[in-house]
Assembly symmetry: C2
Homo-oligomer: 226 residues x 2
């Protein structure tokens, strides 16, 4: 479903070049969960952003469901981001003046789902992440872990074929985190799920663990240091 | 150093009242590290915000170094926040258009530290969190874990007697996290450090672990589930 070929993403900073992603080849299957682990600053978020068409690669290609993202015009890319990819940002990125249920319903609004159906699906998603009782709270009336769970529910709103989750349980206690692991495992049965995580427990549940260090995949597949 | 008496913080939401903190009595010593653990939404951040004078309690009192925060006029409270308390926010709250080193130096600028001394101390603090090589990056040129480490360095800028850290390693891999644990342990030798954490490893290093559930401290002191 997702094919990366010689993928690079580099930033210029003064006279320096930082290769956040430095030559990655990778094939991700249509179903199942892949975990990406690696030190802080090793390129994990950058890689997810490029796969999810949030960032353009410096070199190399990203193909999703047979289409090369580099060839898709800007307008169509917006629809791709909305309907093919569900993204859980590391910094949540919730809309401040919308309630939790409105934040979760928003992707469905863009996709033309009728108002009543949007509201009931959004509420059901919040129940799934154990936040039904916070549906009418705005982001500044939620705790850090509650905001993270709203962000997870929103990423699942359009039932996208690809879910990219960046550190989805970093702000959760182990019991609440386990609820999210089980949810991600369940949805990975029918679609591609890629999680960046420092949680060894979540990495163990993945079908495959990729180790990123200085922008490159290492084959330290056996050492589970997350 | 810090004394809480019958402390409550409640929010009104429509017809509902949410008691984020529901009657807490607590004494914190002048030195040492205290960890607060508890489920997502249990009141940990709210408690830290009230101790750090970022939020006013609904009822009860907070005394720091013998002074009742409720009696301190607004203008003086700003100096208290700057010089007595170093705060690591769960959502980092870095100033977007300042570089990492400028963000770390900012609290010292308000306290009248000379420019050259500010710059060298800020740089040294960034080295301590292993980010010397990212000093000139703005927040949007940093990874999640790098932003978190800048926020930790900034909280230590004025060498405050009280350090309050809200989930300081939630976005860090275990190796980078360990660096921060050691740093917090070292600074806790000479001042009060309170950390909210879901990391069992960090909670084990604390002199005392407090368990918060639905805004109340429970005496499950021996069960280290973080
Ligand atoms: N302004 C507000 N209005 C209403 N409820 C609020 C407000 N701010 C926070 N809350 C609620 O208060 C409760 C405690 O929030 P707090 O941020 O202290 O939790 P926490 O223990 O830090 O959780 P986490 O581990 O998820 O960060 C939450 O359930 C939250 O929804
Ligand atoms: N706009 C930019 N300009 C320069 N460097 C950048 C920029 N954005 C990111 N970087 C650098 O690229 C590297 C990779 O960042 P990335 O966010 O992918 O790391 P990460 O593996 O997600 O780390 P973390 O676990 O801390 O979230 C970092 O060292 C970061 O400083
Ligand atoms: Mg990241
Ligand atoms: Mg919190």
């Amino acid at each position: 479903l997702v094919e990366l070929r010689d993928l690079w993403k580099s930033y210029r900073k003064g006279s320096e070049t930082i290769d956040a992603v430095a030559g990655i080849d990778l094939d991700l299957p249509e179903r199942g969960m892949v975990a990406i682990v690696g030190p802080s600053g090793s390129g994990k978020s950058t890689l997810l952003h490029v796969i999810g068409a949030m960032d353009r690669p410096t070199r190399g290609s990203v193909r999703v469901a047979g289409r090369n993202l580099g060839d898709i015009p800007q307008g169509e890319l917006t629809r791709f981001r909305r309907e093919v990819v569900g993204f859980v940002f590391q910094t949540f990125n919730l809309i401040p003046n919308l309630t939790a249920v409105e934040n979760v319903a928003l992707p469905m609004e863009f996709s033309g789902v009728a108002r009543a159906a949007r509201a009931s699906r959004a509420k059901a998603l919040l129940e799934r992440v154990d936040l039904g009782q916070r549906a009418r709270h705005r982001p500044n009336e939620l705790s850090g872990g509650e905001m993270q769970r709203v962000a997870i529910a929103r990423a699942l709103a359009n039932e996208p074929p690809v879910v990219l989750a960046d550190e989805p349980t970093g702000n959760l206690d182990s019991a609440t985190g386990r609820l999210i692991y089980e949810l991600l495992q369940a949805i990975a049965r029918e679609r591609t799920v890629v999680v960046v995580t420092h949680s060894e427990e979540l990495a163990r549940l993945a079908d495959r663990v990729l180790h990123l260090r200085d922008g490159r995949l290492s084959n330290a597949a056996h050492d589970h240091s997350a």
